[in-house]
Symmetry: C2
Subunit: 415 residues, 2 copies
DNA sequence: ATTATTTATTCCGAGGCTCGAAAAAAGTCG
DNA sequence: CGACTTTTTTCGAGCCTCGGAATAAATAAT
């Protein structure tokens, strides 16, 4: 079962801890690191001097930080941007984007492309992804050797090993082993991640104070997605990628969902559901493939203007989300919620019904204290999470590896 | 944030690992332990000789294990029963029980008592619990000094620190800090646990093969409770004790639940709900306080006999449980389920509707493969889980303590 | 009965790691 | 310019785990 701790693990873990302390804090001094990790100054000194020698960390020439304090000034440690690089690929409905990010987390190059994901064949879809990655890797400004990882975020269900896309609403294709394909093509370790999980990762990085140990990121878009962090860790299902919040059952036997079942939260709160209700179509009407953001904005404007079917559609969406959240909170206890995506801009229309619904549930006992944040733009968030995920992997698996394989040569020893 | 690993932690963790290996395996040899933990023979030898000297482990005189193998025979290590003892107290509806368990996990004494929990005052309730514990501790056969922990399992919501009962269906009283009360009274560390969580712990001990990393224990009783193990760990809410599966919303605005809200799973599947539906009372009828097991058995018999309101009541219960499980599975992926409690004996009546409902949900994609186990007797399970929980605590916190406090004196240094 | 073989356990020296204390370094303040 | 303060490095001590050799305890073979 669980394995004993060997002596060499110790150094490995403490190395990883120092690296992650630097990544979190930006430019901490050795003394600061000692304080946050609880390790002694001697240990930090030894580890950081190793890391500097290996080119992973660098002493930032404190520059014009006129400390105005007595005593020897602290010298900040920072991540060496050239230590490695990662690629963050985001594939969403009709849109593909890739960014090259250096080890310090800065975007050094990017490329975006529109494509018609719903109608593309399997090979076209894979081909586009491979091609866009290849173009970035062929950039003469980039040292290909330093690229340590490719992370691909996609809307849909991935398997538990973060290797394959099992199902996605953005394409009729299923079971695409993207991670293996990219790995084989470029010889660089690759992972697949769920977009909502990446949103959650990014939120945590952006505002660790608010999004610390337990919180929820909900994507309000054509479909409804969720990223969940519990006890400081991304919660993913055991077999597949993540909590399918959108497919919790809101009303048994209720409205027709895009997934073919009935009564899912998404069948009331997804864009297509709001659109369907606003047009006063039957709940059994086949979900439309796509509703443009402009059209949704128009719907929201009309709902704000007058009390009609549009407003009622948003009310129903709020109710579904509220009961869904209530059931979720019955299981995990209330936590801060971030509403992300285009429809988050219409959260003012959703919130009243949502709060009313949640107050009727077990999780709603403290419904007043549950706070909602909105962020209409999901793409930057997804990319950011993707990048951080990949960089954390480099931190832990490559620069603080286990028994076999010393660091130095950046990736060949892992691939 | 996360703290670095010190040098002394290493020994502590490996000690804990050896102890837990012995607890799991029963009578493993040093060689076996080395194999399961991945530590070297030398290390295991050193640690186990320490543990034997401290009286925590003992070499079991292999006795008549005629190994018939060549080579030096293995000598089994076992837990020294006298190393410590724990008390497992279980408080449920109208029933209080306590068991004294030695360090090896054997029950050495027990006592049970009927009492009318629903009508007792706060002081009476506390008084009974304190009194029954005191009687066990005054047993001349018991070395009080060796009692290292009291664990109290109760049906209801406990706080996240396992110290207080926040709310329980078995008593109108709320906010009873049982753990603190017992600790103050006897000077022995105490914890409070949720009964369903303890069922899950016990199931895992009884059948680690079936109930390994992810599974669900559902208590079908007057109310509906759940114990959830995810990734090998008991999943408890972050603020309170556990997932309130029974209070997920099955039908918004539906049947009246004991908790005062509407449409909870429990309002369809709890004993009182089945009873209410079987009598064809309104869904708004006030839940009755208690339905005897005999009465429920009669209901089940009638349901089996003929297609009438009784059968329909069980069907509704199955439907509610099925949709609830489906929503749960949408979040955490399907896992084996154990149905525990008196109504588990009527699972034949519940199962068809349950499977039908679950098949209509996102989690039901592999509904055929979801397996259910039944166990009509919850009490032994709860007690067993309680005992194992307390013993694991002794293993880890007392016999493999952190920096301060060497073991030997069994508990004073912790209290 | 005695020796060879096999397997389990212990002993011992080597190598690593972290720690605390002391020393060195690099500033500010008067 | 020297005193003071704070950060960082250096150094020896103390643990811990590991691998290999030695020892122990049984069975199989002679």
């Amino acid at each position: 079962m669980s394995v004993g701790i060997r002596h060499d693990d110790l150094r490995r873990r403490n190395r990883a801890m120092v690296i992650s302390a630097v990544r979190r804090a930006g430019q901490p001094s050795r003394t600061e690191i000692a304080a946050t990790t609880g390790l002694s100054h001697s240990t930090i000194s030894a580890i950081s001097s190793d890391l500097i020698q290996e080119g992973i960390l660098a002493e930032s020439k404190s520059s014009e930080t006129v400390s105005m304090k007595r005593g020897r000034p602290q010298v900040g440690l920072s991540l060496n941007p050239q230590a490695a690089a990662v690629l963050a690929v985001v594939l969403s409905l009709n849109f593909l984007s890739v960014a090259v990010i250096d080890y310090a987390g800065q975007v050094v190059a990017e490329e975006q492309r529109r494509l018609d994901t719903l109608t593309m064949s399997r090979d076209e879809l894979i081909g586009e992804c491979v091609a866009i990655v290849r173009r970035r890797l062929e950039d003469p400004d980039l040292d290909v050797q330093s690229v340590a990882r490719i992370a691909l975020a996609i809307q849909g269900i991935t398997d538990s090993h973060a290797r394959a896309l099992l199902w996605s609403p953005i394409t009729p294709q299923t079971n695409i082993a993207f991670a293996d394909i990219l790995e084989r093509e470029f010889g660089i370790p690759a992972i697949m991640e769920n977009d909502c999980n990446m949103m959650a990762v990014a939120l945590r990085w952006r505002d660790p104070h608010r999004y610390r140990d337990d919180f929820i990121a909900i994507l309000l878009s054509h479909g409804i997605g969720m990223g969940l962090v519990l006890k400081g860790e991304l919660f993913t299902g055991t077999h597949s990628s993540g909590g399918e919040f959108g497919h919790m059952i809101h009303r048994p036997g209720g409205a027709l969902c895009r997934c073919g079942r009935r009564g899912c939260v998404e069948a009331y709160a997804g864009n297509y559901a709001i659109w369907r209700n606003a047009r006063q179509l039957s709940e059994n009407a086949e979900p439309v493939a796509d509703v443009s953001d402009a059209e949704m904005r128009a719907l929201a404007d009309r709902a704000r203007e007058m009390d009609g079917p549009e407003r009622e559609a948003y009310r129903k969406a709020g109710e579904a989300l509220g009961f869904g959240l209530g059931s979720l909170f019955a299981l995990i206890d209330p936590a801060p919620v971030a509403m992300v995506g285009a429809s988050a801009a219409a959260f003012d229309l959703i919130e009243p019904a949502l709060r009313e619904a949640i107050a009727q549930t077990a999780g709603g006992q403290h419904s007043g204290s549950i706070s909602f944040d909105t962020e209409p733009n999901e793409l930057p968030l997804i990319r950011e999470g993707c990048a951080m995920r990949a960089l954390s992997f480099v931190d832990q698996e490559i620069f603080a590896p286990g028994a076999q394989g010393k660091p130095g040569t950046t990736r060949r020893d892992v691939a």
